[in-house]
Amino acid sequence: MPDPVHISGTQEVGWFRRAADYLATGFVALAAVLVIVPLLAIFAYLVLKGVGSINISFLTQTPKPPGEAGGGMANAIVGTGLILAVSSLIGVPLGIGSGIYLAEYGRNRFGDLVRFTADVLNGVPSIVIGIAVYSLVVIPQKHFSAFSGGVALGIMMIPTVARATEEMLLMVPNVVREAAYGLGIPKWRTTLSISLRTASAGVITGCMLAFARVAGETAPLLFTAFGNQFWNLKLNQPTAALSLQVFTYAISPYDDWHKQAWAGALILIVLIVGAVAAVRITTSRGMMKGA
């Protein structure tokens, strides 16, 4: 019979197992560092190269012809705003609506089907959405347009918003709904004014994340919004967008355009990180309890 002291946990761990433990710990920590480094490098370069090129003319002027110095991305900044407004008008109501369906009505076969298609839609490459919107909207309209760009991005927002809405509504306790029904409040009113209201912080978070996700999208805009070197505020005309402009400038051979690409990218990332950080701050302050 073995000595009880030797089978208890106080026994020394062999050198091989200890080495393996150290090695694994080192590898895992190294992985964390390796993941963080590119992020810091990207931000550092964006700030270093971008800040110098942001000035008044960059923010107020339209692009100059190639080779000419100066000019800016004002039209692209406004164009991005225009496209994102259209996409939010499409993506947010449809997303919240289908989220409500999934949470309040969708505990059935069709609900599962919608849940699955939302996941599928989430995984469809953005360029494929671009092709579909091109043939659904651009061809009948006979124009590249801000509207079609908004449709493409709006479609991409729907699954994120829908799943966020569903998850948040499911967190609202059933007792709250029953109390509302008990007071004689009809279902539609209960859903909108009580369940959705209770879940609103989480739903807004979902909308902001969806917004941040599509704000930098470029691929679907290539053949929907198309880009424009001039001012355009009409929904049915080709429109510039920041992401498109960054792409065009980055692959161009002109140094001045490269600088502007960095500046445009910096503005884009500030927009997106601002949205994500706003979400983080509101959620960490406990506005979204239990999420």
């Binding site: 449809l94 699955f116 043939s135």
Partner: protein, 358 residues
């Protein structure tokens, strides 16, 4: 339930015999029936209301149903448009479209092999680099990290997912590619050149750059899924392994990773789905030359980037149709890959109480 005949299975005498005379429902039955019972009460309450208040309810239900149908309809419409617009190319080339090497718009012959090859190789390369790093960072966050650092690191990883693809591309062109050209590729050619994967002229831009950029982009996806799955592993699994005298690494290996492996595979497949469809960053750094080369230094072309580059310039219906067919193939592949991944992730995290979000 007080009826003498069980409504669930009326023709089961054995069940009848086992029940007490008053047929007190078992606990399982109570919990199963509580919800329907509550809703029938609600239905009665609602039914007792005047008709007028039920019309808005019906209208609301229809509006909500329509928006749910729209999600389904959009996916069907996308699929239909892709099939419809690629019909010409499907008829013209058939299956040979996918193994033809020749992409010559002028001659009107289209084979997608170079693009499929480029997509597969760059995605595979990306996963090769991203999987160890992202599983590592997920393990670090869930198992090793000091509490204070945990929130910061997971926020940073999340931020990596928020950076738009075009900015990765910009960074790839002006920072990563020169770095590869000046330092990394010469080193690889010296040490591993004999394998044939690292030889030939070094442009910086090429398959290797695309793989690295894409690896950085899929890390947050795989890492966040892995983290979710690791969090779903019950705490007592860890405690049990530790109690047997395991070191921390042995605990992670046997108690955590082994339990979570299906979910991790799901996360990897989800990352693959993202990598296959990734467009802008890859288009900007892969070099865009439709050829099949063994060396990773050589420029390549992917399915998504050929669409991005040539779609607006495609002259002629057949050319356009061939590009849409590539899009259709991409759609189908990502659909299958995503469905598979969801299935695997669901099978692990379903029913776990402590699901974490991003």
């Amino acid at each position: 339930m007080s009826d003498s005949v069980d409504p669930m299975n009326p023709t089961e005498p054995l069940g009848q015999l086992q029940k007490p005379a008053t047929a007190i429902p078992s606990m399982a039955q109570v919990s199963r029936e509580r919800k329907p019972a509550a809703s029938t009460v609600l239905q009665k309450i609602r039914a007792s209301h005047p008709r007028a208040s039920r019309i808005p309810d019906a209208v609301f239900a229809v509006i909500i149903l329509l928006s749910a149908i729209s999600v389904f309809a959009i996916v069907v419409l996308v699929a239909w448009e892709l099939i419809d617009k690629s019909r010409m190319s499907l008829h013209q080339f058939g299956i040979s479209f996918f193994y033809g090497h020749d992409w010559d718009p002028v001659a009107g012959s289209f084979g997608a092999m170079p693009f499929i090859y480029g997509t597969l190789v760059s995605s595979f390369l990306a996963l090769l680099l991203a999987v160890p790093a992202s599983v590592g960072v997920a393990v670090y966050i869930t198992e090793m990290c000091p509490q204070r650092l945990r929130a910061i690191i997971s926020f940073l990883v999340e931020l990596l997912a928020a950076i738009p693809s075009v900015i990765y591309g910009l960074w790839g062109i002006f920072v990563l590619a020169p770095l590869l050209r000046e330092y990394v590729e010469p080193f690889l050619a010296r040490t591993l050149g004999w394998t044939g994967f690292f030889s030939g002229p070094m442009y910086g831009l090429g398959m290797l750059a695309a793989g690295i950029i894409m690896a950085i982009m899929v890390v947050p996806i795989i890492a966040s899924i892995t983290r979710e799955v690791l969090t779903a592993v019950p705490q007592n699994q860890r405690e049990a392994v530790l109690a047997l005298g395991a070191t921390r690494w042995e605990m992670i290996r046997m108690g955590v990773l082994r339990n979570a492996r299906i979910g991790i595979v799901g996360g990897i497949i989800l990352g693959l789905g993202r990598a296959l469809g990734e467009t802008m960053a890859v288009t900007m750094v892969i070099g865009n030359r439709p050829e099949v080369a063994k060396s990773l230094f050589a420029p390549g072309y992917t399915m998504a980037s050929v669409i991005a580059n040539e779609f607006t310039e495609a002259t002629g219906d057949l050319y356009l149709s061939a590009l849409v067919e590539i899009g259709l193939a991409l759609f189908l592949v990502t659909l299958i890959v995503n469905a598979l991944a969801r299935l695997l992730v669901w099978s692990i995290t379903r029913g776990s109480p402590g699901r974490s979000h991003a």
